[in-house]
């Protein structure tokens, strides 16, 4: 019994309190990667489980130049454990487009992607307005060279554990094990 309790406490240490709903998403991608004006692009958002999701909306905007958003918005359709939409690219080769999306859950809570701390899934992120982030629909012919440097943020993977998180996990763990050993003596 004591060992079981010990095990449960330890497991609870591994739960990242900030993960929350973000763990639902396993991948975000768009295809094709090489985007041109007029081409149809498919956004695919993959989830572990979509049973708790009411709907997913995506917002497609022109980020640069002339920051504008397209309307109507893109309603994503469920397909197995994914939400998918296809739309036509309006931006020409000198313009940068991006998208973000909002997941609405059955309990009427919602979450927006990407955010400052969310996983970028290998995609590049732009923040043209403070606190509003977009996955950049990269035209590989242009590359990020045309993008204003302040707009462009390098893709990072926030799945990786920071050093402080490792300490957060490891220190209480070591303490508990040490105490347990003393008890056995």
């Amino acid at each position: 019994m004591r060992n079981t309790l010990f095990f449960l406490i330890l497991i609870s240490l591994f739960v990242n309190p900030t993960s929350g709903a973000s763990s639902y998403i396993t991948n975000v991608e768009y295809n094709p990667k090489n985007i041109e004006q007029g081409s149809n692009v498919t956004i695919t958002i993959s989830f572990e489980n979509i049973s708790e999701i009411k709907n997913v909306r995506s917002f497609y905007c022109r980020i640069q130049p002339d920051y504008l958003c397209h309307f109507p918005i893109l309603q994503l359709e469920p397909l197995q454990n994914q939400y998918i939409t296809t739309f036509q690219i309006k931006e020409n080769s000198s313009q940068i487009a991006g998208f973000n999306f909002e997941i609405m859950f059955n309990n009427n809570t919602s979450i927006k992607y990407p955010s400052e701390h969310s996983d970028n899934f290998g995609l590049s992120i732009a923040e043209p307005a403070e606190g509003i982030y977009y996955y950049i629909l990269t035209n590989e012919n242009i590359s990020s060279q045309n993008m204003t440097s302040s707009l462009y943020s390098k893709s990072t993977n926030t799945n990786e554990l920071s050093q402080s998180e490792l300490y957060f996990i490891s220190i209480p763990l070591l303490m508990i094990i040490t105490i347990k050993n003393k008890e056995y003596r």
Binding site: L10, C69, L74, N181
Partner: protein, 468 residues
């Protein structure tokens, strides 16, 4: 005991897995397993491109609509275009999730404050996304002090359709301006700055402003000048019956004049500017700084205010001088070799410098006063002179710096006498940087490997205990 073993195994597995994740630093890019979409299948919505760039043209009469005040709840007041009879109307089609709509709001608020008091200009913002939660619109409205009419679109707002389907363009934000006869004088996608809107409205209203703006107050915000705050923030409050367009501030001290256009702060609704000074010069002069402000309103009326003075009292800070070794180069003299050492010192003002030779080999060193200074950063140059027959490979010296606040730093440096441009023969010269990197590496190794190793040790110890 068996449970303990299982628990230990699971723990080790988890820790190892987590450590592996932390080490990988690889983007999470799983293989593409997306089902292939049939693009011809109408179940998947393709973006509607038909409406793009289809704004209702200038010169058309705005058609009537029927909207409800957003905050009316069940008893929301119904209103239509007649609410704006004999008014100039700024018509804003927006959504709360729309970044550019949000970006435009501070300037829209400023525009509203400029003209609403004339009783000739009205604003209306309309949320055009029918799927948008009321709470999102509410939050947006609250966040931006939108003190004008606010409504949301719906099917039936304009005949049997939405307002967007008649006036939308495929992009937001979309703006229209109508004159007092409901004729569209401007239709535009995107917000391109307040100035063109001011000009448009000025051409439509009957009032002409001939009054000059006035100066209200000036405030300065600084505790002291130091390497961390080498500038003086000046804030000016100015008034005008139609609002102040710009303020140009001129600061004068000694023979120095700095003129710059001040920035409008949308939160404080005041104009502000940062003036940077040469700190040492200012300290030496104990100067007063005198300001002149040229205030211009949106109609071009100007008022010049003079006589604002700040007695800049230089208060020494507690920041330690920071010394950086920049370079060393060999200089050949007739009877000896000299090495020219260049250091960079960052501080408010250095009042004392001393150099101590650690080697005590009889080398002569003479230091020259600082050769250049700029703000809080200045370069410090001196020469080491030594005879040709010395066998010394490295020359070690101690720099002692004291700033005007009495903050003192002692820092040791080494110069490679064989080749001053490199430092490989002087191990100590690299000590600082290598220590830092070693610390980081050790720390990372600890976080990744120490934990599992410790666990194995502890659990192994425990197992031995039970065996005994």
């Amino acid at each position: 005991m068996k449970k303990l073993k299982i628990t230990s195994f699971i723990l080790l597995f988890l820790i190892t897995t987590l450590s592996t994740i932390s080490q990988s630093h690889v983007g999470n890019t799983p293989t593409n397993t997306s089902p292939q979409l049939d693009l011809n299948n109408s179940n998947y919505p393709l973006f509607d491109s038909d409406k793009i760039d289809e704004l209702v043209p200038i010169g058309d009469e705005m058609r009537d609509f029927k909207l409800y005040d957003f905050y009316g709840g069940q008893n929301a007041t119904e209103f239509n275009l007649s609410r704006y009879d004999d008014k100039i109307l700024i018509f804003d089609l927006m959504a709360s999730w729309c970044g550019p709509c949000r970006d435009a709001m501070p300037e829209m608020v400023r525009l509203y404050e400029l003209f609403h008091h004339t009783n000739e200009v009205e604003f209306i913002s309309i949320g055009i996304d029918l799927t948008e939660p009321d709470a999102d619109l509410d939050n947006f409205h609250e966040a931006h002090d939108m003190d004008w009419d606010f409504a949301r679109d719906y099917v039936g707002a304009m005949d049997d359709t939405t307002l967007w389907s008649n006036y939308g363009s495929g992009y937001i934000p979309t703006y229209y301006i109508t004159d007092k006869n409901n004729i569209i004088t401007r239709s535009e996608i995107g917000w391109y700055g307040i100035e063109s809107y001011v000009d448009e409205i000025k051409s439509l209203i009957s009032i002409i402003d001939e009054e000059s703006p006035t100066f209200v107050s000036m405030t300065s915000d600084y505790d002291y000048f130091s390497i961390n705050s080498p500038s003086l923030l000046i804030e000016v409050d100015a008034q005008d019956n139609f609002g102040v367009k710009s303020v140009i501030g001129t600061a004068k001290y000694n023979d120095i004049t700095i003129e710059q256009e001040m920035t409008y702060n949308y939160e404080t609704k005041k104009f502000e500017a940062k003036y940077k000074y040469d700190l040492i010069d200012l300290y030496a002069a104990n100067a007063d700084v005198t300001f002149t402000f040229s205030i211009i309103d949106w109609y071009g009326n100007t008022y010049t205010h003079t006589g604002e003075t700040i007695d800049v009292k230089f208060t020494p800070d507690n920041d330690l001088p920071e010394i950086t070794f920049l370079s060393a180069k060999e200089i050949e003299n007739q009877n000896s070799l000299s090495i020219d050492v260049l250091l960079s010192v960052r501080d408010t003002f250095i009042q004392h410098v001393s150099i101590t030779e650690i080697n005590e080999t009889g080398l002569n060193s003479t230091y020259l006063p600082q050769s250049s200074l700029s703000g809080a950063l200045f370069k410090f140059e001196f020469q080491l002179n030594y005879s040709l027959d010395t066998n010394l490979a490295c020359f070690t010296f101690l720099i002692n710096l004291e700033d005007i606040a009495g903050n003192t730093v002692n820092q040791m440096f080494e110069v490679d006498l064989i080749d001053p441009t490199r430092s490989s023969n002087c191990e100590q010269a690299n000590t600082t940087s290598s220590e830092i990197s070693t610390t980081q590496t050790d720390s990372a190794i600890f976080s990744i490997y120490t934990l599992p190793i410790s666990l194995i040790f502890v659990l192994g110890y425990r197992k031995n205990y039970h065996i005994k």
